[in-house]
Structure formats: C-alpha cells, structure tokens
Symmetry: C2
Subunit: 316 residues, 2 copies
C-alpha cells in the first residue's frame, strides 16, 4: 500500500518543530506591480530565508525529525543546489555532520556555499548514477541518514510552512501560486492552503522547457522529464511519486511559462521591488505576466522560492 | 546673516508632515555580514522607499511645506536622478504639476521614470548652465517653485526622517553611517542622531573620486569638486553652503572609499541580503569593508540610500 500523503496537521507539527530555527520571512507588496495587473499580489520572500531559499525549512524539519541515534550519525544528500546548502546549515545548527555528494563539475559558487556551511563534500562524476552510488557508499560507511530533496513527507511538510505563514500573515486569498520542480514546495503549499482556506485555488507554474509536472498532471500518469532545459535551474528535477500524488490530490491547475517570461518576471521583481530573486523564484510571476493565470481584481499569494542568482551570469 | 541650520524639532515636524505618504522602510540585518565584521550592523532600507530612494522623503516634505498659492503653480527641478523622480511622484500624489529640466543625454531609463511619474520634461544641453537657465525660464513662465535636490532645510529635514525611524526602531547605536554627495542625507541623519542619541558618532562616507566633502571637512573650507568621477552616480554633486555648515557642526568624521570597495560592498549586499542596492547606497558598507570605520563589537546603523541600479550595466 502506498504511503499516505501528509495532512495539514503534519505541517502544523513541522512548523512547531522548526519555528525557532527558520526565519519568518516578510511578505512584500508592490503598488506598481499591483497596478500593472489590477490585482493584489503578496510575495512571500523565501529569498530572505536562511541560505537564501525555502529549502532550509524542509531540511530543518527532516533533521529535527531524526532519532538521537540517527542524529549522531549525521545526514547526507546528493545535490549541488539549494537543498545541499540548506541541509549543511540545518545540520550544523544542530551540531550534526552533513555529507554531500556533488558532481565535480558543479559551479565554484555552489561548492563554496556547501563548504562555508561546514558540509563534508565527496565529488563524483556528473551523472545521476554516480551521485546515487556515491551516496549509497557514504550511507553504508557512515550510517548517515539520506535526506532527499523533495520526495519525502518531512521535506514536504517543512516546505508547507512558508504558505502557512503567508496565510497567517495576510489572511484570505483567491489563489496561491508556487513554482514546481520536484514538487516539494507546491505539495506543502497545497496542503497548507487546503487546510487553512476554503475556496482558494492552488496553481503551480512550471518552465515549458521542464514540463514533466504539467504533462503528468494533465495525463494523470507519472511522466518524468527527458533532457529538461530551463534557466530556472531549481526546477529541472522531475516529480517524485509522493509529490505527484499530493499534486493530483490538492493542486487545481498547472501552467507552463517560456524562458522569456521567466527572465522578464525576474527583472520586474528586481527593478520594482529591489529584491534579488533567482530564476526559479520568478516563475510564479511569469505565469501572471503571460496571463495564464486570471488575477484581475483578485488576491494572489506567490511564493518567491529563493534568491541565489549568480550575479556574474545574469540574463539581462 | 547666514540662515540658521535646522534643529531636530524641524525633523520631527517634517516627519509628522510626510508620515502618511512615505514608506516606513524596514531595517534589515544579516547574520553572515555581522559575523564578517564581528559587529551588529542595521541597514535602513531606503532602496524600498517609494521611487527606490530616500529622496522621496525630502521631496514630499518640500511639497507639503508649500503655501496653497505656491502649490497651485507646481514645482520644478533640474536633475536627471532620483530627486527628479521623487519630486514628480510626490507632486502627483498631492495633485501638483512637476516641471523637470533634464539634459538631452540623460539615460532613457531616467527619462522614462520621470515620465511614468507624470513629470513635464524640458530637455536642455548637458551643462549645468543650460540646466539652470532652463529652470529659470520655466520658473519665470509658470511661477512654479524651484525645489533644490539637497541644499535646502525642507530637503534636509525630510531626509533626516530616515535616521529618525532607524533609531526609533532599533534603539541605541555606537555609530550611524550615511553616504555623502550633496550632503542632504547626511545632514538630516546627523541632526536626527544628535537629537536622539547621546554619544553616537556620525560618519559620512564618500567615494575617493568625488571627495569634495572630505576635503572641505578636513580643511574647514568649502571646496567644490572638479571633474568628480565615481560609479556612485548619486554622489557626484558637491556640498551646498547649508549642508556644509550642518556637516561641520554635527558630523564627526568623513572617510573616503575606492571604486573597488564600492563594487565589492554592493555585491556583498546583493549576495548576502538578496536586496538590490545602487552603488551610492553601498558606499557606507564600503567604508566598513575598507576598515576605515572601526566597528568591532559595536552597533552600527547604515542608511542604504537607494536601489535604482541599472540592471543592464552591472559592475559584476
């Protein structure tokens, strides 16, 4: 029998667990952006979260859910993105070890981030197989607990605390919008929205160049990506089996957006709101820019998922 | 006899006048930046102010200080920077006309900003003489009130409300740091600091390539800039006679910083704090980066003056 999908009570429990360690990030608004769309947009600024992304919530929840014995042996993951950095900092804050398997080819900036948070790095060839076998070897050697980056209930529930705070701070919404890659964030967002608001829609936005969630959702079949390509590097991953089921259960709609819209949305956020948002974080606003989401006269919550943009390689 | 310099009570009056129209901007902190300097740094985020800069405070105060008759005839200034945009929006919010004299050569982005806030633009040759004579002609024709960008008590008192809010929100400080160009911001900052805190130092930071305030301050003589050059385009102007006197009276120290430090400080703010700050706004942190200000173990307030960076021409 398949694992039950998490309930809103699980997000409440996660929030109590992690509340002392995560930033309660601000919710920002922009008069000029509201005027552009004749709507009330509320941006939950997870770019201001520790390590610059919502990933710190799930990682902290996973770590605080370990038994004492497990905690003693540390945690590990294979990732070169925000999840790895988040896991390292969350582990260090609890005095635990974090083992990270990372492709040799990962950008220096990401290696440095993981190192600066005290992660113990093992480099591998840049293939999924090499990452997975490298991880298995470390788990076998150290006894550490593998913490996946999205397809796990502790991760989903941790990520759901962002939308919970957004709704607590702002109140009613007509629509809550989140980006979708592996689906951890949008799954948690959907669970919180269903638990707290009646009648609000949950819409996921995905780059057209990595549209596995869109194809899986519309076909009802789990269809992983083949050669995904997008500037929104946090959204290259495919759904997992658990996040797929949460999305089928709780998400109302998935829309896709072009690379041009992602870049335009990113620039709009930087220029009008004076905040640094990474491409993946701009994807929800891209859905509104492309008029794929009807926002006229409505109250919309958007999760700005992260701010780790490479300033040396901006698309504008 | 020279005009009396403004008193803290004048800043209090300005704050009451403009409070309903300006954003009370947030004060942000960064654990990692604090750790770098072993100090507690508090950033007053005027990059989040309306039009993206503190200039909106002084402009609003100037406009709300007009008589009814003056207001009816509108306001004007010659500027292509944040002050022009600020004056246009402040005027529009009160239903007044704003006449802007701008060099033909001003960047499109600045022309567009002034237009988008409803300013009535007159283009002129790119010289100070052309700007001043263009302005005089418009004042003669329309009867509008010329609102200078820094060397005026209403402007100084408006700008001082940023430091007033910072001190109200955070409490005690050892040092308050502001950038200095024409001196409006640092004058207001110094008046508020003297009025609210006993024993706190006020330090102004200036680009070495536009160091008229430093030279004037250390020599005690008013020495305008000749051919100033700096990436911090908001700080190219020289002090005025009134701001010079306020600075001589209330500022403890002026330090200069290199272009490299300004760019490094700007990048540090973007990367660690995920906020967009223009070069001029990064100048105070550059003074700390260069160790020209001793911050070890201290509580420091910094005014981040603005966020209108040209994203197409970043220095990194």
């Amino acid at each position: 029998m398949a694992e039950k999908i998490p309930a809103f009570q699980d997000v409440i429990d996660a929030h109590e667990r992690i509340g002392d360690y995560v930033h309660r990030t601000p919710v920002l608004t922009s008069t000029s952006i509201n005027r552009m769309f004749n709507a009330s947009l509320f941006f939950k600024c997870e770019n201001f979260q520790k390590v610059g992304a919502f990933k710190f919530r799930g990682a902290t929840n996973a770590i605080l859910s370990l038994s004492e014995e497990e905690a003693r042996r540390g945690v590990g993951t294979h990732s070169s993105g925000n999840h790895a950095a988040a896991l390292c900092l969350a582990a260090r804050m609890q005095g635990l070890k974090a083992y990270i398997v990372m492709p040799r080819t990962a950008p220096e900036i990401k290696k440095n981030a993981v190192e600066s948070y005290g992660g113990i790095i093992t480099f591998c060839e840049p293939t999924l197989e090499a990452r997975e076998s490298g991880m298995k070897e470390i788990v076998a050697r150290t006894g550490c607990t593998f913490v996946p980056s999205y397809n796990h209930r502790n991760i989903i529930c941790g990520q759901g605390t962002a939308a919970k705070e957004l709704i607590e701070d702002v109140g009613e919404f007509d629509i809550i919008v989140a980006p979708v890659g592996g689906g951890g964030l949008v799954s948690g967002t959907a669970i919180s929205t269903r638990g707290m608001l009646s009648g609000a829609k949950v819409i996921a936005v995905e780059p057209a160049g990595a549209d596995d969630a869109y194809r899986s959702f519309t076909s009802g079949k789990f269809l992983p990506s083949v050669n995904p390509r997008t500037i929104a590097d946090g959204l290259l991953t495919s759904l997992g089996d658990l996040t797929f089921r949460v999305i089928m259960e709780h998400v109302d709609e998935i829309v896709t957006v072009s690379e041009e819209s992602i870049i335009a949305a990113m620039r709009l956020l930087w220029e009008r709101m004076k905040i640094v948002v990474e491409p993946s974080g701009a994807v929800p606003l891209a859905g509104i820019l492309e008029r794929k989401i009807d926002v006229e006269g409505k109250r919309i919550g958007l999760i700005l998922s992260g701010g780790n943009a490479d300033l040396s390689k901006l698309p504008f």
